[in-house]
């Protein structure tokens, strides 16, 4: 029976969190020594009935108090800084990364790769490659937690959450839902399979899906009727999707906003509150008519046409 004492370090940032953890452990041991040693010594030395010099001393109370206020404050600021710097690294993904979508719904995780492969409660990723997860929830708050990567991110319904990691060791690691979400909250777990790049590619082709995420997004783009207005040839005056993702979009109320996932999501679900400058708010709201999965597929399609030219008007 192997009794683990410490979780495996399998991501690029795991060692940094562990360094902080060990520093805090060391600090705690120091503080406990600083408190418990004199405590036990006094309890032993000044036991009632034991001979000891008990003459009252008027110690410089104020100076003592100031020292053991200032020193812990300074130490705390130091730890805060260290914790914050690692937290920043966890928030900002590196330049190029692999996009993977994760949808939490009551009591299972559905994972969609850009190449179209989708899996339930399993995540296959190549080693030494930064992966950025875009997380959505269909119902309640879940939380995607991979202990081996020291990473957790709540998945709040109604918005996208993102987290990134770069696995550094191949192997199988558990992931959990760590925010209570109902009856089978404990069942909502699975495994991350970190594989060498070649093996990962081979896994992708092993059961090739009919079409990639962007392609299924395009199919949806037609079925839901988006193409009816947003395609170049139609008469209805609607902003084209080509070249949209990542660009700066001027809005009707004079502000400009970058077209990232959050903007795309908001303008699909509630277009009235995000009309683009120079257009009429005629687009119907898709709130409640589009699931998180479909939303991610549409956004994958919009991303895929980010660099192509819009078709000219007839």
């Amino acid at each position: 029976m192997n009794v683990p004492f410490f979780p495996p370090e399998a991501s690029s940032l795991a060692p940094e969190t562990d360094h902080l953890y060990f520093f805090l452990l060391g600090l705690s041991l120091f503080v406990m020594v600083f408190v418990f040693v004199p405590l036990t010594f006094f309890l032993f030395k000044y036991r009632r009935g034991r001979r000891a010099n008990r003459a009252a001393l008027n110690l410089p109370t104020n100076r003592i108090e100031i020292t053991w206020t200032v020193i812990p404050t300074l130490i705390s600021l130091g730890i805060f800084g260290a914790g914050a710097s690692v937290y920043f690294k966890e928030e900002v993904p590196p330049q190029h990364y692999l996009d993977v979508n994760v949808i939490g719904k009551q009591w299972m995780w559905k994972i969609q790769h850009q190449e179209g492969n989708s899996e339930i409660n399993e995540l296959h990723v190549p080693v030494n490659q930064a992966i950025k997860l875009t997380l959505g929830s269909e119902d309640v708050i879940h939380s995607f937690f991979i202990p081996a990567f020291r990473l957790k991110q709540d998945v709040v319904p109604g918005r996208f959450a993102t987290e990134w990691f770069q696995p550094t060791r191949t192997g199988t690691y558990r992931f959990y839902c760590s925010e209570y979400c109902g009856m089978d909250h404990a069942k909502m777990e699975g495994f991350v399979y970190v594989m060498p790049a070649a093996e990962y590619k081979q896994w992708l082709e092993q059961a090739p899906p009919r079409n990639t995420l962007a392609q299924s997004g395009e199919k949806l783009y037609r079925i839901l009727g988006c193409s009816g207005c947003h395609d170049g040839q139609t008469l209805v005056h609607a902003p084209p999707m080509e070249g949209l993702y990542g660009a700066l979009v001027p809005l009707g109320d004079g502000t400009t906003v970058r077209a990232d996932e959050t903007y795309l999501r908001a303008s699909i679900l509630q277009p009235a509150s995000h009309t683009v400058a120079g257009y009429q708010p005629v687009m119907p709201a898709y709130q409640g008519r589009v699931s998180e999965e479909q939303l991610m597929e549409l956004i994958a399609y919009i991303k895929s046409v980010a660099h192509s030219e819009p078709l000219k008007k007839p």
């Binding site: 600090l27 000044y46 009632r48 937290y87 991110q153 709540d154 918005r159 909250h185």
Partner: protein
Amino acid sequence: MSDARQNYLSAGDTVKSWLLTTDHKRIGILFLLSILFFFSIAAAAAALMRLELLHPQGHLVVPDTYNKLFTIHGVLMVWFFLIPSIPSVLGNFLVPLMIGARDVAFPRLNLLSWYLFLTGGFFAFHAVILGGVDTGWTFYTPYSSAYSNSHVVEMALGIFIAGFGSILTGLNFIITIQTMRAPGLTWFRLPLFVWSMFATSIILVLATPVLAITLLLMGVERVWGIGLFNPKLGGDPVLFQHLFWFYSHPAVYIMILPGMGVVSEVITCFARKQIFGYKFVAFSSVAIAIIGFLVWGHHMFVSTQSLYAGLTFSLLSFLVAIPSAIKVFNWTATLYRGSISFEAPMLYIIGFIGLFVVGGLTGLFLATLAVDVHVHGTYFVVAHFHYIMVGGMVTAFMGGLHYWWPKMTGRLYPRRLAQVAAIILFIGFNLTFFPQFILGYLGMPRRVHDYAPEFQFYNVCSTCGAAILGLGYLLPLLYFVWSLRYGQKAADNPWQATGLEWKTTSPPPKHNFEVIPVVTEDPYNYPPLNDYGEHEHA
């Protein structure tokens, strides 16, 4: 017996005289009995949870039942045991005695607090009987307001009513301490227990209303489907978390501050010495009460709360740890050149200091952003707050009960047995909760009824510890009840402690003092000690 000789217990023993009493001492006793009832249910729920977690697959109870068990354990422990325990039992009994008053400022309001607590308790207990609640004591939306099909509204109503009870208790204490101190009893001559009760009352009065409106909105959203916290109707679940934690973090200081007050009283008595740095200990209580309102965001570091809000709350959370550290250092320094005896209350207080230091330090881990991202929502958090709640608050409550039991009941409990019970509790506690730190960093999430097989060793240790802990709590219950009838009669001041409550008889008369005492000297002014730790009769 003349009215003066008759103590508050023997002054009228009809049920009516107890149920309609406005005597703060009797209301304290009534609160003690009622929180015992809720403690036993919540403890039973905890026992079942620990049994379920003995085996990785956990087949003792169905998942749904387990979810209801940890919710019952959480709700009943937080709102029907921890929050009322020291303020409503020891606070009610002792604050008027300690400040030389005949009763609290609004005695009828004090009785109303107990009835509000009982009514709230009835609704909560009724919700439990009907089938319990499966949302956890945090009631996170949209699960609690749109997806759970358990008795959320009735439980929320119970907490809502009991919450008003604790608001009124807080209000009563603020006004009593503010306006009814005995002549000569200036703020800096007040016992530190009264300082900590004043700070706790500030939090009780200013935080609990926010809980009331949060539960009200959650209940209304559940019944009429308003969209305040449900994203499908344009609401924001994180707003519920802001409102909930704005109350719930100060609430954890409502739980620990009174415990710190008890520690200051007991440690000075059994070290026979003035406390070290009286003003700093007194002001650190108030500092905790105020800074405690600024830090709630550290519960939400991974909840899509903005990055900069996370930074602000992390910084402020470190600052709130400083006053607690000051208190611990001052208690340790108080023992220097004292004359220490290891009576049962002192054993509990030494246990408190040991466990509270560990609890406080692990709080620093959780305040560090990067570490919290890993350990949030795991057993590390469970271990942290149990070290503070059980290791700190409940141990201090037991210490306080043992310290003031002769004053409250006029009886002494068996000395040796009480010392043994304290040690058993300390061992059982550590065996239960220390393994959970390791489980937490390994990544075992909380609120799950089954877990990965490799975590079984730690869970089995934890369950064994829980068994010892359960035994540890039964022992005091037995010998306290035993002492009511067979205990040795207690003198007015069995521990030769300073403080106005020791100047009346044990148990005190109905109106506390024949003549309101005039206070002339500082608190804890024990006479100087000779080389053998006995008081020199200067």
